[in-house]
Structures are given as structure tokens and as C-alpha cells.
């Protein structure tokens, strides 16, 4: 194997850069030790990633999937980074969300975190981003595990930095449970390695038909699906999520809610469709029925819990549990329409939930409280932030003109195509519950008298980030070329499976 030496073209190394740039950034942010300087580093790094991701999507659209041999070692022996429409789409989503959230973060972080820890916050944030981007671009099953651990460890730290003391318990619980999930995943990968002798995803997909339907393979699928189900907070394995989102620093909640679970969903898609192949999954495992049942339960139970919460961040967290149900539901339909719905909802929900959590971050900044009743009258004192909250809330309900409508439309369409009217009923009921839990907050914020003491004005950059996401919710509700268009491409690619 010869390593050719030629001039270094940045555009040839985009997949590696996607993971390496945030890693270097994390080190740099840790070294500068100063909160403001670390923030500047983080923002610079975070905004370079969307550029990289968009360039990658451009290359994929132009000349097919990118296969990048890490360190010049050719796959399957070496580690391959492999990018197609599905993960390029996700890379754009994750990097843009990170960039927007980081841009809006500094004064909210200064408010919520001790001066000594601020630089660490940005370092850990970038480390988490590195893990997420790595999981997205890599084409190697074990490499996924490595990046998963990087992002998980970073996430535990991020959560523990919350100013509420319960953040420590939440972080600790997530650490235990997250480790269980990651271990399940790695056990599954180990079984796959034992059966096929390879860890490269494409190679795995090619060798699996030879060992089809053997018991270790089914066990591998079981461990991987359940392990990833835990990471993506599929009901009833969501119990770690509400506390994690509720007690993490506000901007960390916004980032995690819009990216971390989404990457786990991507991995589930990748394994179910590309590696095992959907025919294998449906013929030999109960994954289809199980995911659909759990998704439906998530949509109802998550919304029910959301309705009764008194802490607004916990309310949003439970709403995430139910929205993840929508995403999994679309995937479990195993049709192009359903999958398009699921993948575009993944995108749209990230925008919506990011916007809602950022709006809450502003509210927390202004009032210092996270209880719903403390938001009374905020519509009058911070109309822009709460206006954005209303727009994103409408997106959560799925009102036409918002991004949420587009994905819900595809989901209902997919269910109708297969004549699964009970699914439509579940979507209907869950949407109505969303009306109630969103309506509650809108009513409190806009139609009640403000509390006595005047709240602080939220920092401009936080408001700007919130508004940008709210605008995106509207834009992607009206123009579906990117959100649904690329999602449809990704769905097609996933259904076709890997073809080398």
C-alpha cells in the first residue's frame, strides 16, 4: 500500500476536517482559559463546520458518495470516513445548530456558569461537537463507538455544569445509562466483527448476506437497536433525558436537544437500512413492530407528561420524547414517504426545539426562573423572544407554514398510503396534546399580567439566535426544497442500501 504524496487540497480532506477541526478547537479553548477568548475560538470553529458540511454535500451531489481513507490507509483495513446524502444532510444540521447556539451563548453562559469554568464549557462543548460530527462522517463501526464515547463524556460534563445542584445527579444518571447504551452498541459491533471479520460499514453490509439469519447476527441487531434506542431516548428508555435537559445550562440544553438524539437516530437508520438491510431486519427481528409500537407510546406518553410539567425545560424535554416518537414512527413505516417524513422531522424538530430552548434560555436569563408560572407576562416584556417561542410552538403543533407541518404531512401521508389509520389517530391525539402544552405557555406569557419586578432584557446575541431559528422554522415550512428534498434523497439512498 503506497501513500501517494501530492499537494494538500483542503477540499479533499473535508470529512476528516469535520471531526478534527472541533477537536483542535476544543484543545485551543481549554488552553486559553479565558471565557471570552474561548468563546471566540468556539464560534470560529463552529462556523467553519457548516461550510465544510455544505461543501461535502456539494461534492456528494456532484460526484456521489465520498470515501475518505483516514491517514491514507485504504479501507477496509484502514478507517474510512464515508459521506453520502444522508450523513451530509445531518452534518449540516448538527454543525449549523452548534454554530447558532454557540453564537447566542456567551452572556447566558456568563450568567449561569462560574468564571473559572466558562472556558471549560466551550472546550467541552466543542469536544461534544467533535464526537457528534465524527459519528456522522465515519464509515467504521468501532470508530462510531469511539466518537460516541467522546460525545457522551463531553455531554456528561456539560450537563453537570448546570447551576442547579440536581444537575449532578442528572449527569451521573445519564453517565450510567449512557454507558449501558454504548456498551450494548459495542457488544453488537463485537458480534458483527466475530461473524464477518470486518468493522467497515460498507464491508459489513457486503459480507452479512453470507452469514444471514444466524443467531449471533440477530443478537448483534438486538444489542445495536436497543443500545441506540437508549441513546436516542426512545420510550421507555427516555428516563435519563428529562432531567438531563432540565438541569443542564440553558444553551447546552438547546444544543443537546437539537443534535445529540438526532445523531443516534441517524446511526439507527444507518445500521437498520444500510448495514443489516431492511429485508433482514423485517424478516428476522421484531424491530419494525417494536419501533412502531414504542414510537406510538412515546408520542402519547411523552406529550401527557409534557402537559403536566411545571418546569418549562422539563416540559420541552418531554415534548422531545414525544417528537422522537414521530421520527421513529416515520422510520418504522419503511416506506419512502414515511422515511422522508421521519428524516425531515429530524431536521425540523432540531430547528424547532433549538429555538424553543433558546427562547427559554432568554427567559431564564431575564427572570432567573424556569417555572411556567414565572413566565407570566413575558410576552409584553420580551415580545421578540416570546414571539419566536410562539412560532416554534406552532411548528411543534404542526401548523401549516411552519417546518413542523411539512414533516407531519409526510408522516400522515405515509400512514395513509399503508392504510394505517390507527397511526393517524395517534398523530392526531399527540398533536392535540401539543396544542395544550404549547397553548399553556403562550397563554401564560402573552395573556397574563407581568410579575412585579421588571425582568432584565435578554442579550442581543441570544435573541438574534432565537429569531434566526424561528425564521428558519418559517422558511423551511414554506420552501421544502432542502429540508424535505434532501431528506427524500437520503431516504432513497437508505432504502437502496450500500452499493459499492
Amino acid at each position: 500500500m503506497s501513500v501517494e504524496h501530492h499537494a494538500f487540497h483542503v477540499t479533499e480532506h473535508l470529512p476528516a476536517l469535520a471531526a478534527v477541526v472541533p477537536l483542535i478547537g476544543a484543545v485551543a479553548a481549554a488552553l486559553v482559559r479565558n471565557g471570552v477568548a474561548a468563546w471566540l475560538v468556539a464560534v470560529a470553529v463552529a462556523w467553519s463546520l457548516p461550510v465544510i458540511s455544505i461543501l461535502m454535500l456539494g461534492q456528494v451531489e456532484a460526484s456521489g458518495p465520498i470515501s475518505y481513507a483516514l491517514g491514507g490507509w485504504a479501507p477496509p483495513a484502514g478507517i474510512e470516513f464515508r459521506v453520502d446524502q444522508a450523513n451530509a444532510y445531518l452534518a449540516i444540521l448538527v454543525s449549523v445548530m452548534a454554530a447558532v447556539v454557540l453564537t447566542g451563548a456567551p452572556r447566558s453562559i456568563a450568567d449561569e456558569i462560574e468564571p473559572a469554568n466558562r472556558a471549560w464549557y466551550y472546550a467541552v462543548f466543542l469536544l461534544c461537537l467533535c464526537g457528534l460530527m465524527g459519528m456522522i462522517v465515519t464509515g467504521d463501526a468501532f470508530n462510531v463507538f469511539v466518537f460516541m464515547e467522546i460525545s457522551s463524556l463531553a455531554t456528561y460534563v456539560l450537563i453537570a455544569m448546570g447551576r442547579d445542584r440536581r444537575a449532578l445527579l442528572a449527569s451521573y444518571q445519564y453517565l450510567i445509562i449512557g454507558t449501558v447504551g454504548a456498551t450494548f452498541y459495542v457488544i453488537g459491533v463485537g458480534l458483527l466483527l466475530a461473524m464477518t471479520g470486518t468493522l467497515n460499514l460498507v464491508d459489513l453490509a457486503a459480507s452479512l448476506p453470507e452469514v444471514e439469519a444466524t443467531r449471533p447476527l440477530i443478537a448483534a441487531a438486538a444489542f445495536i437497536v436497543v443500545g441506540l434506542g437508549l441513546k436516542l431516548a426512545l420510550f421507555p428508555m427516555h428516563l435519563w433525558l428529562p432531567n438531563a435537559y432540565a438541569y443542564a445550562p440553558s444553551t447546552a440544553s438547546a444544543f443537546l436537544a437539537s443534535t445529540a438524539t438526532k445523531v443516534a437516530v441517524y446511526l439507527l437508520l444507518r445500521f437498520a437500512f444500510s448495514v443489516f438491510g431492511i429485508d433482514f431486519m423485517l424478516a428476522n427481528t421484531p424491530a419494525g413492530v417494536m419501533l412502531m409500537t414504542l414510537a406510538a407510546l412515546a408520542m402519547i406518553a411523552g406529550s401527557l407528561s409534557a402537559i403536566f410539567q411545571t418546569n418549562v425545560k422539563r416540559m420541552l424535554a418531554y415534548s422531545s420524547v414525544s417528537q422522537i416518537g414521530y421520527i421513529i414512527l416515520g422510520i418504522a413505516m419503511v416506506s419512502e414517504t414515511g422515511l422522508t417524513g421521519g428524516i425531515s422531522h429530524l431536521f425540523n424538530h432540531a430547528l424547532i426545539k433549538g429555538c424553543l430552548f433558546l427562547a427559554v434560555a432568554s427567559a431564564v436569563f431575564a427572570t432567573g426562573a424556569v417555572r411556567i408560572e414565572d413566565m407570566a407576562g413575558l410576552g409584553r416584556t420580551m415580545p421578540i423572544t416570546m414571539g419566536a417561542f410562539v412560532i416554534a410552538g406552532l411548528g411543534l403543533i404542526g401548523v401549516p407554514g411552519t417546518a413542523g407541518f411539512v414533516s407531519k404531512w409526510y408522516l400522515i401521508q405515509g400512514a395513509a398510503e399503508q392504510g394505517m389509520w390507527w397511526i393517524v389517530a395517534v398523530i392526531v391525539v399527540s398533536s392535540l396534546m401539543a396544542v395544550v402544552y404549547v397553548g399553556r405557555i403562550v397563554e401564560v406569557a402573552w395573556f397574563r399580567a407581568p410579575a412585579q419586578r421588571a425582568p432584565r432584557e435578554a442579550p442581543i446575541e441570544l435573541v438574534a439566535a432565537t429569531v434566526a431559528l424561528a425564521a428558519a422554522v418559517l422558511v423551511f415550512g414554506l420552501n421544502t426544497d432542502f429540508s424535505a428534498g434532501v431528506a427524500a434523497d437520503a431516504a432513497r439512498i437508505l432504502i437502496e442500501g450500500y452499493a459499492r
Partner: protein, 560 residues
């Protein structure tokens, strides 16, 4: 895009969104000018599709005009004008903006050529009208949330139904359908929810009277009448509608007669009037559909007039219970006379718009030899006169002297009322231009001897009945009735009053249902509330247990 056309509804929506950003005179000018511009735009549009858009891989036709849609768009624009004129001194810009967006989206529905556009404007309507309800003040909170929940329920029904229709037929065109498949039944259910049909009619009298003095005027016009429009377009001749309509007619009358709050009387009366239209859609002949459309047109104007009259009283006195009012004719002559004109029109007195429209519906039933329907409608017409035609003006403006001496409201409110009153009479007297814009060619003469005499007899005798029974009617006025009170206790109270054994049983059942429901919600709270087992912080072991259970289940089902 075939041509650069801004849908008329969108013009009104944009104007509404602009309202909070302009002040005083500029706002007032905008409120008057925008609806008139929309009216011009509606009439400037040629028949057929003038705009197409691509969305979600579907081709939408946001602007498609025919006689039926033009009729409804016209009356909605007129209503936005009259409502805007009436509401000029409303200080709450949020309510005004919501009301205009609401009106604009109603016009959007009537001009929509495809189901997806219908759905989009439908949802905007639901949101905007919820804001109008909420603007009524703190008492409107609960009603507003219930109102929103019911309308979003209708919205998701509609969306699911449309998705099903598109999946089945591949077409989004909005034309006549039959409620035979699951998706079309869902769409019908969604339309009926907005029409205020049973079993979910209670949102209407629950929410409308809670809105402000000006908000109710807007609310009365759009939601139920867009539903009538969509029923005419989508389900003409669907037989079940006849019986649903008749139920609504009598539901409205019974509850309106028992009611004490003047605006709630008129809210029940909306259900009653929409019942006539729904029934006509069910009959489905061209005469009946003309009747439904014409009645909707006439009804919007006279019901707005009645609610303006009630709104003026509320605006000037702050009171809305019949028992607190009375004798206001002395000092509020304009409100009183306009209220009486509206009352006559709703009762279908000859020479009013109600007469020329509603008699078509009865005659359509007669022409189809639907004897039962014909007589029930005739009986209902008498009931309308009782509850809205006499009861409203009598208890508010005459009856005893309440001691209140309010003046007539400001000029713009008087002007809005006079505008509507003139329309009510004008349409009744010069009915041929009105008939000319109905969706089907009209071959009908309202003023022949049999019609006129029949209606006059009906009205005079029911008028006589009202004053004979005045004592009995007064007695109910001492109770403040509430919708959920009716659901829970009403049946039993009526049963005890009149010793209806079966009704008593009904009351017990209903009460049992509410007790059960409360238990269910409490149970949900216990389980899902912040401290419930599904929401409180769980030990990590619980999660590990779930994970291992799922893994076991997965493997078990794979191997067997």
C-alpha cells in the same frame, strides 16, 4: 405561477398584521380601506384559477373563483368592513390584528381551489380566532384553550383526511365528495366541528360570549360560515346533514330560550341558524343549496347586527345579563331599532333578508316531499322568533326599567349598525340582485301570498305564545346558566322541573361521565404529573430494567 396575483385573503391578512404598527387615524383608515380593497379584488378576479403554486410536490390553486366562492368572499369582505367600522375604538391592537387575519383566512378558504390551501387557511383561522377569544380578558382563558383544542382537533382531522384523499386519488382538487371512505368521513367531521355540529357544539356558546364587545362580532361571522361554504362545496346532498342540521336547529333554540346572557343567547342562535344551512346542504338540490348560500349571506349580516347591538349595550353598560338590563330603548334608540331590525331579519319577517333566503330552504324541503323536515323547519322558524326575534330585544331594550341610562355608542358603532340594518332591509326588498349572485340560477319568487301569509301566521302566533308564557320564561332568568353546568346538571334540573324520568336518567349518566372524566384526569396527573411515576426522577436501576426487558423482548421475538 400563471400570473402575479395576491390572493384577496392574503391582502387582508397583511393588513391585519400591519395594524399594530400604525396608530390612531392611520390605523382607522387601514381598517376601513383594507376590506374595501379586498372586496374590489374579489370582484376583479376572473372566474377560474388565477394562481397556482407548487408546495410539497403538489400543485396548489390558492385562487379559484366561481359564483359560490365569490358570494362568500363578498359577504366576508363586507363583514370585515362592518366589523372594522364597529371596532374602530377598540384599543387592543392584538385583537384587531387577529380579527383581520381571521377574516382574511376565511376569505382564503372560500377562494381555495384545492384541499391543501383550504387546510392552510383553516389552521390560520383557528389560531387567529383563538387570539380573538383570548383577547376577551381573564375570564376567556379557559374557554380560549378549549376553543383552540377543539379547532385543532378539527384541523388534524382535516389534515389526516386530506392526506388520505391525496393518497387514494392523487388529486388535491376541492370538489364534491361522498362520505363513504374513512378519509372523506374525516374531512366531513372536520367541517362539521367548525360548523358547531353535535356532539362538539359546545365550543361555540362557551367561547364566543367571552370575547370582547367587538371580538364576538367577528367571531360570529367567519368560522361557522366557512364551514357551511366547505359543506356546500364538498358534501352537497349528503343525507346525514339533514338530521345533523335539524338537531342543531333545535339544540340552539332550546338552549337559547333557557339562557340569560344576551350574547350567549345569540351564540346559541348561531348554532340554530347554521343548523338551517347544514340541513339545506343535506337536501342538496340547487334550490336548497341556493338557500343555504343565501341564508349564510343574510345570516352573517343580521347576526353581526344583533351582536353589534348587544356589543353596544355591553360597551356602554358593561353588563350582558338580561336580568341586569331592560328599558334601554329610551336612551339607546339607534341600538334598539337596529337590534329590532336584526331580530326581524333573523325571524324571517317579510321584507327582510332572512325571509328571502330562508323560505328557499323550507320550499326545497317541500319540493323534495320531505314532509317531516318541512314541518320541523317550520316549527323551528317559530322557535327562532321566540328566542332571538323577541327575547333578545324585549329583555334588553324593553321589559322592566333597569334604571340604566346609557347613551347610544360612538358614531362609528352606530354607523356600522345602520349599515347592516340597511343591508338587511335592502336585501329583503330588492332581492333580485341578491338572487343574481347566488351559485345556481334562481327561479323563485319569495313574495307570493302563501309564503307571506304562512310566515306571518307563524310569527304572530309564536309572538303571542311568547307573551303568554312570559311568566314561565322569566323564572329561568334567575339562574346563571353555564355550558358545563348544563352538561353536568342541566339534564337533572330540567328533569326535576318537568318530571321527565328519562331526562333524569340522562342527567345521572352525564354527571357520572364527568365524575369519571375528572377521575381519569386526576389519575393522569398522579401518573404523569411532575411527581408521578412517569415523570419523576427515576433510579438508574429502573432504566436499566427497561433496557434489559426490551433486549430480552427483542431476542425472544426474533427466535420464536
Amino acid at each position: 405561477m400563471t400570473d402575479l396575483v395576491l390572493p384577496p385573503g392574503v391582502i387582508l391578512i397583511l393588513a391585519g398584521l400591519a395594524l399594530p404598527f400604525v396608530r390612531h387615524t392611520a390605523r382607522q383608515i387601514l381598517m376601513i380601506a383594507a376590506p374595501l380593497m379586498v372586496l374590489l379584488a374579489v370582484w376583479a378576479l376572473p372566474d377560474g384559477t388565477s394562481l397556482t403554486l407548487d408546495y410539497l410536490g403538489l400543485t396548489l390553486e390558492p385562487v379559484k373563483v366561481d359564483a359560490l366562492s365569490r358570494l362568500f368572499a363578498t359577504v366576508f369582505a363586507l363583514m370585515a368592513f362592518a366589523g372594522g367600522l364597529f371596532a374602530l375604538n377598540q384599543q387592543n391592537a392584538r385583537e384587531l390584528a387577529a380579527a383581520f387575519v381571521y377574516a382574511g383566512s376565511a376569505i382564503g378558504v372560500t377562494l381555495a381551489g384545492d384541499l391543501v390551501t383550504v387546510f392552510i387557511f383553516w389552521e390560520v383561522m383557528a389560531i387567529a380566532s383563538t387570539i380573538v377569544v383570548w383577547s376577551g380578558g381573564p375570564e376567556a382563558r379557559g374557554s380560549g384553550l378549549r376553543y383552540a383544542a377543539i379547532h385543532f382537533l378539527g384541523g388534524v382531522f382535516l389534515m389526516a383526511g386530506i392526506a388520505g384523499v391525496v393518497a387514494e386519488t392523487g388529486s388535491t382538487a376541492f370538489g364534491p365528495m361522498e362520505a363513504t371512505s374513512f378519509p372523506t368521513i374525516l374531512i366531513l367531521a372536520a367541517f362539521l366541528i367548525n360548523a358547531g355540529a353535535p356532539p362538539l357544539a359546545a365550543w361555540l356558546p362557551d367561547a364566543y360570549p367571552r370575547a370582547s364587545w367587538s371580538g364576538t362580532v367577528f367571531l360570529s361571522a367567519f368560522t361557522t360560515k366557512t364551514a357551511v361554504y366547505t359543506l356546500i362545496r364538498g358534501y352537497p346532498g349528503e343525507e346525514i346533514l339533514i338530521w345533523i342540521g335539524l338537531y342543531m336547529v333545535f339544540y340552539g333554540i332550546v338552549y337559547a330560550i333557557l339562557e340569560n346572557d344576551m350574547r350567549r343567547i345569540l351564540a346559541y342562535s348561531i348554532v340554530n341558524q347554521v343548523g338551517f344551512m347544514v340541513c339545506a346542504v343535506g337536501i342538496g338540490t340547487p334550490l336548497a343549496l341556493n338557500g343555504a348560500a343565501g341564508h349564510a349571506f343574510a345570516h352573517i349580516i343580521y347576526k353581526a347586527l344583533l351582536l353589534m347591538s348587544a356589543g353596544s349595550v355591553l360597551y356602554m353598560t358593561g353588563k350582558s345579563k338580561c336580568t341586569d338590563l331592560g328599558g334601554l330603548f329610551r336612551t339607546m334608540p339607534v341600538s334598539c331599532i337596529c337590534g329590532i331590525v336584526g331580530a326581524l331579519a333573523i325571524s324571517a319577517f317579510p321584507l327582510t333578508s332572512g325571509f328571502v333566503a330562508k323560505s328557499m330552504i323550507s320550499d326545497a324541503a317541500g319540493a323534495e316531499k320531505m314532509v317531516v323536515v318541512y314541518f320541523l323547519l317550520a316549527a323551528a322558524s317559530a322557535g327562532v322568533f321566540l328566542h332571538a326575534g323577541i327575547k333578545f330585544p324585549w329583555f334588553v331594550f324593553f321589559q322592566k326599567d333597569s334604571g340604566l341610562r346609557p347613551q347610544d355608542p360612538p358614531w362609528n358603532m352606530r354607523a356600522a349598525m345602520i349599515f347592516c340594518a340597511v343591508l338587511c332591509i335592502g336585501l329583503g326588498v330588492w332581492y333580485s340582485p341578491f338572487y343574481a349572485i347566488l351559485p345556481y340560477p334562481v327561479d323563485y319568487v319569495p313574495y307570493d301570498a302563501s309564503h307571506v301569509i304562512f310566515y306571518l301566521q307563524l310569527l304572530l302566533f309564536s309572538g303571542l305564545a311568547f307573551f303568554l308564557m312570559l311568566g314561565a320564561l322569566k323564572r329561568t332568568l334567575t339562574i346563571t346558566l353555564d355550558v358545563d353546568w348544563f352538561w353536568r346538571r342541566g339534564g337533572r334540573a330540567i328533569a326535576e322541573e318537568f318530571e321527565f324520568q328519562w331526562l333524569r336518567a340522562y342527567g345521572v349518566i352525564v354527571e357520572g361521565f364527568w365524575r369519571k372524566l375528572r377521575l381519569v384526569i386526576e389519575g393522569l396527573y398522579v401518573n404523569y404529573g411532575p411527581d408521578g411515576p412517569w415523570s419523576r426522577t427515576r433510579p438508574s436501576g429502573a432504566m436499566a430494567l427497561w433496557v434489559s426487558l426490551l433486549l430480552t423482548g427483542f431476542l425472544l421475538f426474533s427466535y420464536i
